[in-house]
Each structure stands twice: as structure tokens, then as C-alpha cells.
Symmetry: C2
Subunit: 147 residues, 2 copies
Amino acid sequence: MTGSKTSDDKPIYSISAAAKLLNISVHTLRMYEREGLIVPFKKESNQRSYSQGDIDRINCIRNEINASKISINGIRTIYSMIPCWDIVKCSKKERGKCASFNGSDSPCWTYDHSNNVCGTKNCRECIVYSQYSACCNVKELIKSLSK
Amino acid sequence: MTGSKTSDDKPIYSISAAAKLLNISVHTLRMYEREGLIVPFKKESNQRSYSQGDIDRINCIRNEINASKISINGIRTIYSMIPCWDIVKCSKKERGKCASFNGSDSPCWTYDHSNNVCGTKNCRECIVYSQYSACCNVKELIKSLSK
DNA sequence: AATAGTTGATATTTATAAATGTCAACTATT
DNA sequence: AATAGTTGACATTTATAAATATCAACTATT
């Protein structure tokens, strides 16, 4: 991670500014969102904003796509393996009714979770999304679970 | 898993028989091997053989590629997340010098491991390869690590 | 010893994921 | 109120992963 969470999570870029910074089109940014890879900040008017943390994250995603040749569906599947239940201390009972725990091809932040331990929490602010979602970090996370 | 390990792991198919059964070309089978997804049985003459377990496994891989749209590099990366160190009870000390534990883009069975806990064991016969390598099972495996 | 199948290496084809373009309705900015 | 940027939906392009083809050397089978 570069910088602290707070300094990285201010919504400072519009979609076109972010696209220019990343050297991609705005369409691509919307696609990544539709595919469940990113959760940009949204204004009341429904317009997207991106923080420096988002830019870092998207650079990581682009590296997986372009250099590591992992498809978007592959990245989504890898994200879905993040043991969020362990990170957010989800109870056995809660896990039972959690779509993320029970499914295996989409990350937790793509599901509605109004009736589990995550409640109405904004996924952007959740450590699962903000810290562990550099795909290259997922294996490290799995290692840390080992006895 | 269909059937027991022993009954599924007899080398009964030649590469062309396996290809016909799977409705793909022999080239594709060799490609999957080169890409680190499968480890077929090899005769002294260097010719490949495939067991029923191999066929099941390859069907699973093809489903990931064709239906789930996960690229070969994505599948390999997912395989590399299998916590083999936990499954084979690899000591802390052994982990330190293990390429699989320390890398993150290729599964353990693609590395030389003559000088760690796996020694000269044939990966085909290792539970990590034979049981946990249906990509769809990896998340289940991660779940089982949770406290 | 002749035929069929295999090997690895290199080249080519094809299928499609990823990215971009276009549009009309809408929102923000000057 | 005029200009610039955004939205989602749908269509199109392009980049390339996945699969197949070709080859000469080799191995198995009859």
C-alpha cells in the first residue's frame, strides 16, 4: 500500500481525469466496475469519483490483465477467494446466509449484504476491499490463515 | 471426486485416446501440460498416458476456460493459491526455502522440490495435485483453513 | 520392415475478451 | 443559456489467447 487509507481515499478524480491518468478510456473504467473489480465513489447525482487508492488499485488490475494475462473473470474469481468472513469476523451463523461465503465466482463487495454482519457498511471503506484486493496480495492473505 | 484415487489413477489412455474423449486436439493437451495445469503420467519412453482422474480434471479445466472464461494464466494463478504447505504439513523452516510457498503465479507441482518436504515424491500422487486441484474446490479449501 | 502414433518446435488460424466508438438523455460548470 | 462532461445501452473494432496445423525425428505396434 502507498500512503495511509485516509489520505488515499479522498474522491479527487472525475472519471475522465482518472482515465487520462491511467491512459485508458472512460468506457474501460465503467467496464471494470460492471465486472465487479472496482467500486468507485458515487456522488448523489450518480457521477463517479476516484481516489488515489482507486488509481493504484486499477493500475494493479491492469498489470494482471496486460502482464500476467489473467482475464477479468479470472481476476474476479481470485477476488472471490479473499476470506472476508475471516477478516470481518463473520460468525458461523452469519456465514450460512452469506452469498459471498457460499458462492465462488464473485467478490463480497458485489453482493448485497444488508442482512449479514456487513450490514449497510460501504464496501469502499471495508478493509477487505481497500487493503486485500490487490490480487497479488491474496496469496499472502491465505498464507496468514495457516496454522 | 468420482471414484477412489486408486481406481482413477491408472494410466489407461494414450494422448490421442484422451484427446478424442475430450473432443480436443493432442496439441491442446500438450499445451495444458506446458502451462502447468496438468501432470500426465509418463512412460520410460517419454510418452504420455492419462488416467480417468486426468480426464475428469481436464474436463474441469475446460469448463473454467469455456464457461467461466478464466484464462489459462488465471487458472494457473488460482492453482498457485492452494495452501499446499498446510496440506502436506510443511514446516516453517521448509517453507522458507520453498519456491511454491514464496512465489505466487505457479502451482507447487510445476516447481522442483527435491530439497524440501516433498522431496522426490511424484506430484501426481500428491493429494495437493490429485484432490484439491479442481479449481472450483480451491475456495472450499481456503474456507477450511478458517478458525 | 512397414504402418501408426508420438515427440517437441515453430507457424498459423480462429475465437473472443478487452477496449473503444456512438448515441440520446442527463448533470455540472461558466 | 450555452458548453463541457457524464450516464447507460448498444454496436464495433482490435488485440491476443486458445486452438490447430505442419514438420522431421523418434517410438510403438503389426
